[in-house]
């Protein structure tokens, strides 16, 4: 707070009312840990920031770091994954809190998965109703009674965190099926160090590039094979999957084969892959597709996808599947409501991270309450992920809400309502290098093998449209490199002495809040800036 410069013209601007900005105080002065960054950006200037953005797009297209988005009229477009060049910074103390909270949550979720397919203690204790569990679309009866090696089910977890208007961290949803995005975390970091190395000079940022090794080690740990002999594969649905890039990336980084269903075959309870030298035993499969598509004998007989007999091998314990079969029951949005209770029940601890206030529509009273204030709440279908089917009350028109109310009344067990979270903001550059606040969330990635490891930071997704809180990349969101600082490295000790009080408010380009005009300009010039096909 000491470095506030009240004489600056910039101090007249404030981040939108009622939102927490992670880098700047409400008066436009940088928070202590962001001072060096703000100075770095000032030194850089808008022009050079914009130029770095163009280099970034060219590099991403060339390397195929792209994401398919669904355009307004349907067809999918392949565009460079939009990495915003202003990093998000998490001081060490904040990260420690998040990390502990997540590890605690994932331990509880893992216990829950084990419990619902075995003893059902939490049901007997009257905490989670059995009928709610069995009515979840991802409750996997085929997983009943199967305990994977080490009792680990949620090998890879990605919980979505948000920051409310008071700056407190909350869990928005849990992803313990096949969370994606880690490849962007790694690629973003590489791109940032190449494009804007100067920004790193005042910080000691914790590395993230060890993720593939963490994952490989975890998969080896749970693989039923002698040490060092486990064959691990990554199973992708194929090149048409929107996250295929990530599947290939992880396989490459771990140095293992990227397989499709047709590569795998089960012979007498054992999984093999077809190689040029015949069949080779596979011990652990990091699968990137849902339960429904892994074994037509157990799940969908109408589907020709999958590896027939895989569940038989899994049941026999000759192969580890990551994540385990049936974890989807734990990231259902109605089950989410009970996670704090799970933490208390299984771990005997108080949850470190709060939930967003949630109402189960299966409760008639809560449903009436929620339907009475539809324009204030967010409505989510319980079995979906990735922002699919979500309605945000305040920005949805009345006829749509009325139609939604009918849908919910017809199958209330498939819906929840949540209070709107006022997502925090982080300055984000437009294509002219001008900064304005945009809403973000955070998806840290945890790997559970012998222990739970969480890669510092995670994927910060940012809504690129002014005011929007939809951060999903499939719906136009971008991302940010997320810096977790080494402890004792908040700008207080290193950055502040180097950069005294004269900081950002004098930046012509760091026009906090002055984005309306620029925004229009950005839209006019968006297309020409898009990279074209190589000659």
């Amino acid at each position: 707070m000491a470095e506030v410069d009240t004489t600056s013209p910039q101090s007249a601007y404030e981040p939108a009312d009622g939102f927490f900005d992670e880098l700047f105080h409400a008066d436009g002065s940088p928070r202590p840990h962001a001072a060096a960054l703000a100075a770095g950006l000032e030194a850089l200037g808008a022009e050079r920031l914009a130029a770095a953005g163009r280099r970034r797009d060219a590099i991403f297209v060339q390397q195929g770091i792209t994401f398919d988005t669904t355009g307004e009229d349907g067809p999918t477009l392949e565009r460079p994954f939009p990495l915003d060049l202003v990093p998000r910074i998490l001081p060490a103390s904040e990260w420690t809190h998040i990390k502990r909270g997540l590890a605690q949550r994932i331990r509880a979720l893992n216990r829950f998965v084990d419990d619902v397919y075995h003893a059902r203690e939490i049901v007997r204790a009257g905490i989670v109703p059995w009928r709610l569990v069995v009515s979840r679309s991802h409750f996997a009866r085929a997983a009943h009674g199967i305990r994977p090696p080490g009792g680990v089910y949620c090998h890879v977890a990605g919980c979505d965190l948000v920051r409310d208007s008071d700056g407190s961290w909350k869990v928005l949803e849990d992803n313990v099926r096949t969370p994606s995005g880690i490849s962007y975390v790694l690629e973003n970091r590489v791109a940032m160090t190449r494009l804007l190395p100067g920004l790193f000079s005042e910080y000691r940022v914790r590395p993230v590039d060890h993720y593939p090794q963490l994952l490989l080690a975890a998969l080896r740990t749970v693989a039923p094979a002698a040490e060092g002999e486990a064959t691990v594969v990554v199973w992708t649905p194929g090149p048409l999957n929107s996250a295929y890039f990530e599947h290939a990336f992880l396989a490459r980084q771990m140095g293992v084969e990227l397989v499709e269903a047709s590569d795998l075959v089960v012979r007498d309870d054992v999984v093999y892959m077809r190689t040029t030298h015949g069949l080779q035993r596979v011990h652990a499969v990091y699968r990137r597709l849902d339960d429904d598509f892994i074994d037509p004998l157990e799940f969908r007989p109408d589907s020709a996808l999958g590896v027939p007999g895989l569940m038989r091998a899994y049941r026999a314990g000759t192969v580890a599947l990551a994540n385990a079969v049936g974890t989807g029951v734990a990231d259902d949005k109605a089950i989410y409501h009970y996670v704090p209770e799970m933490v208390r029940f299984y771990l005997g601890e108080e949850p470190l991270l709060e939930n967003v206030r949630t109402y189960l529509m299966s409760d008639p009273t809560l449903m009436e309450h929620a339907l009475g204030r539809m324009d204030e709440l967010v409505f989510k279908p319980t079995g979906e992920s990735g922002g699919k089917g979500v309605f945000i009350g305040p920005t949805t028109d009345r006829p749509t809400l009325a139609g939604l109310a009918d849908v919910i009344r017809r199958s209330p067990e498939k819906w929840i309502a949540q209070e709107v979270v006022k997502l925090s903001t982080v300055p984000t550059a437009d294509e002219h290098g001008v900064l304005s606040p945009r809403h973000v969330d955070l998806r840290p990635f945890a790997v559970f093998g012998e222990t739970i490891s969480i890669v510092p930071g995670g994927l910060s997704r940012v809504a690129l449209t002014e005011g929007s809180m939809i951060v999903n990349s499939s719906r136009g969101g971008g991302s940010k490199d997320t810096w977790v600082l080494e402890s004792g490295d908040d700008s207080g000790d290193r950055a502040a002495p180097l950069r005294p009080e004269s900081l950002p408010p004098t930046l012509p380009d760091l026009r906090y809040g002055a984005w309306t005009g620029q925004q229009q300009q950005q839209q006019q010039t968006r297309d020409p800036a898009r990279p074209c096909s190589p000659a």
């Binding site: 059995w130 007989p301 038989r312």
Partner: protein, 291 residues
């Protein structure tokens, strides 16, 4: 009653197939009114058979045949002793509202099948509803065959209830699916049962008959006066009666797909022709007079 059952399935492929993987749910269960004394399965070509008990408690036999073959023969033999279940309790509707009932009912009260447009079902549901849950169960066993003709070949394993209602005819599986929906809509927990039925000719003259695998259902009826555990009571809408000692149960589930007798996949573009038969023999013909 004492039966010997032989369930013989033969697939013939018009070109060799390989990696033929199958899961069988054919073993008679052991319950309070039924005991499976002997059970063998022979697969040709030979294959190692793995066994486990699934979520619903049904024994599943799994096997895979790797090498190319153009014929698959599954020969299942079992010996079973059944007894007539006790008379079902007849409690009032209010007994469905208890905690104990809801707990015993579990997921069998939940919607598990796609339901057709409301109109038809509302009418059927209202017509079937009688003074007590048991009376409703009995009424359904007549209502469905009264309204819908039993005719083989017009539906298949994947037929939905909506299609069945539209066609107006079907087989035991379709009858049961409709009955399950109507029972659940009336608040009665109900489950699909797969098994074998001793369907001897009326004069009971034969000791041995050709039958097919059969489907019926079980409804959870509350105990009397709010006392006593709720009981699963078998009912067979195809044969207009409650299930008895002629019914040999394999297993149950929410619907057909939870207890299919045979499910399999193979590699190869060949078409297959299926020949399946269930042969039941009574080993205690002297008891036949009783029925």
């Amino acid at each position: 009653m004492h039966f010997s059952i032989r369930f013989l399935t033969e697939y013939v492929y018009d070109a060799p197939v390989s990696d033929n993987l199958n899961a069988l749910r054919v073993r008679p269960a052991t319950t309070s009114s039924q005991r499976c004394d002997e059970f063998t399965v022979r697969i040709e070509p030979e294959a190692r058979v793995g066994r486990h008990s699934d979520y619903f408690g049904t024994e599943v036999l799994e096997f895979g045949i790797v090498r190319p073959h153009s014929k698959l023969r599954i020969d299942v033999r079992a010996r079973v002793v059944t007894s007539e279940p006790p008379d079902p309790p007849e409690a009032g509707w209010e007994a469905l509202e208890t905690e104990a009932y809801a707990e015993a009912a579990g997921e069998y009260l939940l919607k598990a099948l796609d339901e057709p447009e409301e109109g038809v079902l509302d009418e059927l549901q209202a017509t079937a509803r009688k003074a007590t849950p048991l009376a409703t169960l009995r009424a359904l066993c007549d209502l469905i065959p009264d309204r819908y003709e039993y005719r083989a070949g017009v539906t298949y394993v994947g037929t939905t209830v909506e299609e069945f209602l539209r066609v107006g005819a079907g087989v035991c599986q379709d009858y049961v699916h409709l009955a399950l929906i109507l029972l659940r809509r009336n608040g009665i927990a109900a489950r699909y049962v797969s098994g074998y039925l001793w369907a001897a000719p009326a004069d009971e003259g034969d000791d041995s008959v050709e039958v097919e695998t059969h489907a019926w259902l079980e409804a959870l009826l509350p105990g009397l006066d709010g006392r006593g555990e709720p009981v699963w009571v078998g009912a067979d809408p195809t044969n207009r009666r409650l299930a008895g000692e002629r019914h040999v149960k394999i297993g149950h589930g929410r619907h057909y797909a939870d207890v299919p007798p045979i499910r399999g996949v193979y590699q190869g573009a060949a078409r297959s022709t299926l020949d399946a038969s269930v042969h039941m023999t009574r080993l205690d013909p002297q008891a036949g007079a009783r029925a």
